[in-house]
Each structure stands twice: as structure tokens, then as C-alpha cells.
Amino acid sequence: MFQFEKYLASEEYAGIWAFLIDNFLTGFMARGIAVMSLVAAFWFLVYRRNTFAGVVLMIITIIVAYFGSALKYLLTL
């Protein structure tokens, strides 16, 4: 059986998530990424008529916008 904690301590794992949340899912960086992926989603969906790329970029936008808050809340539980 694969033992996850043998390779990565739980504090270290929580640290990785904290780093990701602080750097990519909150503040200016998150807003920048979300705006770019939303514009790209729209461009793919309407101009390039590539539904798959449009939907994937929309999902990325939603994750960047809302997951930071959700993960922060879960980490405080």
C-alpha cells in the first residue's frame, strides 16, 4: 500500500496548498489569471468556435475565482 505521509509530511503538503492559494488563487495574480482565461474562453468559444477549449478555459476561470475562498475555508475547519 502506498504511504503518502512517508514521502510528504502533512505540514509540507499543507504548505504547498498554502503557497498555491496565496500565489495563484488570491489577490492580483488570481484576478489577472481569471481575466485572461475568461477572455481566452470567450475568444475560443465565439471567434475560433472551439467549444472544448472554451469550456476548459471557463472551468479554469471558475476554479481561480472561487476555489481560493473555498480552500481557505476548508483549511480553517
Binding site: 488563487l25 470567450f42 468559444l45 476561470t61 472561487y66 475562498s69
Partner: protein, 237 residues
Amino acid sequence: MADQDKGSSSASAVGALRKPKGLLEAYSEIQQYGFVERTGSPISEAFISLDTRMAFWSVGIRLALVSGLMMALITPLGIGVFKEYVPIFGSNDITIFDKFFAITIAVTFSVGYGLFLSSLGDYYVGGVTKRLIKSLMSGFAAGGIIKAGLVFLVFHLIYFKLLDPIFLATTFSHIPSISVDAKLNLIYFLVEFRNVFPLSAWFIVVTTLLTILLPIISIFFKARKVKAALERKKSYE
């Protein structure tokens, strides 16, 4: 009779109509036949079989239902951000930009598809393309109405029943694994968040009507432009 022969020879030049499985296939079929009808002779509507019409109709209905599902998931969050119940970008300090952005995310999917369908007006030329576009758009409209009705019912059910404070308190009292503080925090959040659902339901109804009407109006005006351009071209010849 001669016209019909001409029509069927043009149709055979493109090949038999395929039944589309998705929007892109349906769009490509319309593009192909639009090109043939614009440059060659118009093909009779009788060329389209009932099952092909149904296939286009079902593509339209699926498109509306899928975009509706996405919208139903995102809109309460967007309205929640707008009313400052839901944090966005990991922060509770919600700016005007954040509110605008949350609403934009909520409508992007439907507006995107609406604009995509609006471009069909360029091919609204002959009998076949007109019939195919009408089938696709009537499916899209039917799906939009079904979606709006379902979302309206479900959101009101959530507001009146599932997120009712007494119902929430009773439900959470049966969960022993969460601390009382966490339970209370969650209940307070949900009781505030429930106010988002009636507004979201009406928001979806209005945006659905717009996403159905805008492509139809756009196709109508584009088709008139294309028709006028073709008539001008004919008169020069």
C-alpha cells in the same frame, strides 16, 4: 421540375446530409449547404428528412441544456458575490471589479453560445439552410425554456425548503462529527446565502430570454443583409 432537378444536382454535389452529433458538426453542415445555396442554385426543403431535422433540433436542445446547467451552477455564486455573501479570489473585501467579474462569469457561457449562433445569419439563404437553422434554433429555444423553468423551480425549492432555517437546524443536529461552532457558522452562511436563490432564478429567466431572442433577431437582420447583397449581385450580372 427543372428547378428541382437543379436543386438535387447541387445537393448531390455536397453529398447526403449527415446527422450532426454536436454543435460544430451542425454548424459545418449549415456552412457547407449555405455555400452551395449561395453560389449555386437553391436546394428544395424536401431534401431534408425528418430525422435530420430532429437531429438538428436535438443539438439545439442539448446546447441550451448544457449551457443552462453551467449557468445554474455559477449564477448563485455570482449573485452571492454581488450581494457580498460569497468571497471571491480568496478575499472577503469585494471590489466593484469583483462584482462585475462574477456576473460576467455567470453570463459568459450563454452569451458565448448566443453570439456563436448569431453568426448563422450569414448562411440563412436557401431552403435547406433556412430549414436547418430553424430546426437548430427552435431546439435551442425549447431547451432554453425547459432549462429556465427547471432552474426556476429548483431554485425556489432550495429557497423555500432546503435552506429554510428550521430545516437546516434539524438536518445539522443529526450530524455529530462537526463541532457546534462549525455547524453554527455553516448555518449562518447558508441562511444568508439562501437569499441569493430567488434573484438568481429571475436572473436566469431574463438572461435565457435574451440569449434566445438575440441570436434570432441577429439572424433575421443578417439574413436580410445577405439577401440584399445577393440581389444586388444578381442585378449586376
